[in-house]
């Protein structure tokens, strides 16, 4: 996939307002997940791994 070649000096069609809006949306979506509590399965997993590691 040729992709490193398309890098215009300016970003046509990307008005600064829209761009800022998109950025804010992306960060919000990301933050929403980051702020969720860690699912139990991962806490259990790490406990298991730790005990297994210590025992083995």
């Amino acid at each position: 996939m040729p992709e490193a070649d398309v890098m215009p000096a300016h970003e046509p069609g990307l008005g600064p307002d829209l761009r800022a809006h998109l950025g804010a949306q992306l960060r919000a979506a990301y933050r929403e997940v980051v702020n969720e509590p860690i699912p139990q399965r991962f806490l259990r997993l790490l406990d298991e791994l730790e005990h297994k590691g210590a025992a083995g």
Partner: protein, 191 residues
Amino acid sequence: MSSDGPPDVKRDLLAAIPRLRALAIGLCGKSDRAEDLVQEALMRAWANLSSFQPGTNMGAWLYTILRNEFYTDLRKRRHEVPDPDGMLAATLVTQPSQESRVDLKDLRLALSSLAPPQREAILLVGASGLSYEEAAQMCSCAVGTMKSRVYRARVRLMSLLSYNRGGQQDAAWDGREGGRGDAAAPALVEE
């Protein structure tokens, strides 16, 4: 190699989970698959702790493990999924223009239509706030390549999301320089 991770390793892994999860969900959508990727990455990380260099970024290291799985997985199921743009466009069009809640839903949908490397790029740089350099390093690509991916992702996302909204967004679109460079944006809306 016995992987008796000391407590601080466990603590670091725990601390890295929320961001790792957010990236996995960004890549796969909110799904069992995303959670499974995280699980797998944690297990692999634990089994390969000896290859982690203390003092370096645990989160970045975990992500490189996760993305390897993601792309391996993707190659395996390549034949299953190709996203038909038309379907995505139709979905977006039928949704009413509403508040930011809907925007997020649309955003997730639009993200899912990007080619994975572009999706990854915009997640790392645009959503999680990494520098181009950091993101490029995590993806083992040149910085210029990362910039190009982010740029393309942005163009496509904006083209997908903008027409779905009310007058405010249209005004923003109208504010651009007259008619130049539209070829960069995929045309999803027929006149």
